[in-house]
Symmetry: C2
Subunit: 344 residues, 2 copies
């Protein structure tokens, strides 16, 4: 039996984590006090605003332990918070990790999870400065609060898109959602572990570096990550900005892998692209003449596409797609199924 | 059937909470962006360091819904985070609330919980600026991250007590622990709701104002709140400072109510004072000549006692109590039971 969390207790576990963070984590000069007191303490840098986000993953709902290692789980939990900071144009700096754990959880699994957190944070010079450990026999959860920083005035919100702006998206939304469907429903699960789509689900990438680079251009009018799915998040931009959007079906970046997997699964590839996704691409709006500047900013660190997929309209809350035959189909965040039916 | 969280969904609930916070919460001028984007954003004040803490309450483990209203639950969850910030000498400013909720939770219960959060935060000019809502059918949890601020150089840690310092404690530790024992074990539960000890459990007070006032004197050498119980937290000071402590039994502030309840419960009043507590008093160390200055700082906002209960020694990790008969009894964080046996 491996050593469990129950064996070493809360304080024993905190000591182990503290040691691990000191050995394998980043030491930030702004951090005055890390783990081990009533609070952590840091000195904010002058000239920067602070971004704060909090995202929680519940076992069984947001992850399935049989399909993901503790290391990857840690990476994923931190990556989705990093994605939120990046989608505002910021750089991740200080994380607090709150864990709900069952008493029989192996200590090494918790340590691997922290290695995953640090694998994502270290490249940004970010550090875990605090958190909480509690027993939760009803089910495990990982709740991370991440504090980032952004130069004063450089933050990009979701509420500031303007009619006439173009809509850009990085990468290939829907990869992770398709990977999850493969894990759940593929007939042959033998070779799935190293498949690019299942990897997109288990170890999602984010575009935080690219988000910061986009913000630094000063050209983005709005930005959001696709954590609620492409359509859901474009919907957030439209709702908060009081605008609409018109997409062009043939411009939507559907990867070949996604199309092949959709065919094998008997699923509509557009539904996988539009709906609930577990990948973290960026949707960006900007004036048409700034498209190339934003594409160039992204290209410094990401080789994939930044696709222009449509335009922002003044029809508040209305999202539509121009289909290949030239017809116009209204969509809502819940509307893709309807679209799929008439298009199939 | 009252309207449930499942009825209105995640986004519906976020809208309701956002509205409630706008109506009944505090608007801070430093907050650039509150709930509703990928992250919140605030501008840190120049000349201040930021304190960050995170505490989680799990249903069934940290609270029992049959003994506490949603409003009081919200107050308690926020109060214990406020206590941590106060124990460093800081002022609570920005909170992120992460909730795990069952789908059948009534919306009004969640709203009441937020009213509880704000009832604690508003007096400090603190605001809820973000958070997360997720379904958690395995059991509810409330995870709060609180960011406070403290003037540069004024923070008081637990690791800086020095041999020869006196040990002070505010109020009457053990009140809440006794209240919980009454709720669980009292034969007559009829009149418990308005009992001062059960109220100490359901709506604990903190000493955050007093902690900030103590820090402002510059006289405290170390400070901690009693969230792990008096002995546990004095143990934290000793361990982190590399010192020991000698307590004087007759100076320990046991309230008359605690003594009466202990007698009725058949419990040792000292065990209730020393061990796991759910109240949030402060343990402070300082040079003997500064005791009155600290007592005066506390007296501005709190009428209760600041008792001098012992001294810090150079015997690292050793906590002892001088009993009424003059004998010396060694204690450890787990040692009170042993003491109780020889003293009864």
């Amino acid at each position: 039996m491996p050593e469990s969390v129950g064996d070493i207790g809360e304080f024993g576990l905190i000591h182990r984590i503290d040691k691990l963070i000191h050995t394998e984590g980043i030491q930030c000069e702004e951090v005055i006090l890390g783990i081990g007191d009533d609070t952590a303490c840091f000195r904010p840098r002058v000239g920067y605003e602070l971004l704060v986000t909090c995202d929680c993953m519940v076992e069984g709902r947001h992850y399935l332990t049989e399909y993901i290692t503790s290391l990857d789980l840690g990476r994923r939990a931190m990556a989705l918070n990093i994605s939120d900071v990046g989608a505002m144009g910021g750089r991740p700096r200080y994380a607090l990790v709150s864990l709900g754990l069952r008493g029989d959880t192996p200590v090494r699994d918790v340590e691997d999870m922290y290695r995953g957190f640090m694998a994502e944070l270290n490249p940004f010079g970010g550090a875990i400065i605090g958190g909480n450990i509690t027993k939760s026999e009803g089910g495990a959860f990982i709740d991370i609060t991440l504090i980032g920083e952004v130069e004063e005035g450089r933050m990009v919100c979701r509420s500031t898109a303007r009619p006439g702006d173009v809509v850009l998206v990085t990468g290939y939304p829907g990869q992770a959602a398709t990977g999850l469907q493969m894990l759940l429903h593929a007939k042959d699960k033998e070779n799935l572990q190293d498949h690019s789509l299942t990897q997109a689900y288990t170890t999602p990438t984010h575009r935080a570096r690219e988000g910061a680079a986009i913000a630094a251009t000063g050209c983005a009018t709005a930005m959001i990550d696709t954590s609620d799915g492409f359509l859901g998040d474009l919907g957030h931009i439209c709702e908060e900005s009081g605008v609409g959007a018109e997409l062009v079906q043939e411009k939507l970046p559907l990867s070949k892998a996604l199309k092949r997997a959709a065919a094998a699964l008997g699923r509509d590839p557009h539904a996988l692209f539009f709906q609930d996704s577990d990948d973290y691409e960026l949707i960006v709006t900007c004036r048409s003449e700034h498209t190339e500047k934003i594409q160039a900013a992204v290209a410094k660190t990401y080789e994939g596409p930044v696709s222009e997929v449509g335009t922002i309209t003044d029809k508040a809350g209305e999202i539509a797609v121009i289909r290949r035959d030239g017809s116009r189909q209204a969509l809502t965040a819940k509307g893709w199924d309807h679209f799929a039916k008439t298009d199939s």
